[in-house]
Symmetry: C2
Subunit: 201 residues, 2 copies
Amino acid sequence: MPKVVDHDKQKEKVAEAAWRVIRKLGLDQASVRNIADEAGLSVGSMRHYFTTHSELLSYAMKRVSDRVRERIAGITFSGDLLKDIPLLVDEILPTNEEKRHEMEVWFAFVVKSMSDSTLAQHRCEIDDDLRMLFINIMNGLAASGLALPDLDTALEIERFYALIDGLAIHAILRPEVVTTDMMRKTVIRHLLTLCRPQSGI
Amino acid sequence: MPKVVDHDKQKEKVAEAAWRVIRKLGLDQASVRNIADEAGLSVGSMRHYFTTHSELLSYAMKRVSDRVRERIAGITFSGDLLKDIPLLVDEILPTNEEKRHEMEVWFAFVVKSMSDSTLAQHRCEIDDDLRMLFINIMNGLAASGLALPDLDTALEIERFYALIDGLAIHAILRPEVVTTDMMRKTVIRHLLTLCRPQSGI
């Protein structure tokens, strides 16, 4: 009987091997050969999953953001925005080892995308998705009547999103300074500055 | 008569050549040979300025933050913190082409420092310097009586600093979304959320 291989599972396995190579050796060392070795596959068999090296890297990049989306989709929201928004943001921030590793890989892709137009295109799509989360947060706060009146919504979307990306990179680079506890407190504090004074968490 | 060469000027020239190579080809291509070619120097003459490749890269990284410090030192402050703080922060943010280029190089170094302990050491020192700017900002706001009472100072230092780094990376990656005008408005808005309601800019 032939071995049954789940195609998507194997692609995921290759993406995870790519992440480990990127974290250990850097993105420029993430060759098909190095990734195949890390995944325990032959270079030849990689062709079943990816036609080109660029396609492999694009997939590995996209899987980082898929993971965030899957985690967010798995949250059981309470309906109380002041509790739910911190839960949602927590899935973007590197608040545990798995998410720290993802974030390290993500930043490597981000820097590489500055000089790689294919990765840049994917990065913009992922950025649009992430920005949409913050658009939804601000719209949710406004619709529920929690938001301060007269907020400049476009500006507040960027202020919240930029804060989260800044916290994420600081937490990766200086985990002893920017702890998980500090990230979470900062998110709650920021959220409260967007809300009417009587709002409580 | 021997040609008089200003040693520091030549080192600066090499650092600038390193930045151009990093922006064009990525940090992994910033070999001594490629940097010498870009600087119009022979590989042999590079030894006059740097003993090792690592020393060259560390210098090129440090020069990015020196530039920020030099620009800040050149500001004529008014004494009005609500005007002076945006001026100061403007020298960190990529609000013109020169600073955009610096920031691109800086992020390349930051990612490289995740797997290079020498660069990581320098990066931490530079991070401490930058964090000190935000410590001084928060202390200045408190001492002048502008700051809201009962702020969690450690948290607000990180919140401001993370916001600025997040804005900087977003402006590099999505200049059409995060414009210079939006960065500046966001800084002023953030500053005002730290201050008593009667404070005006």
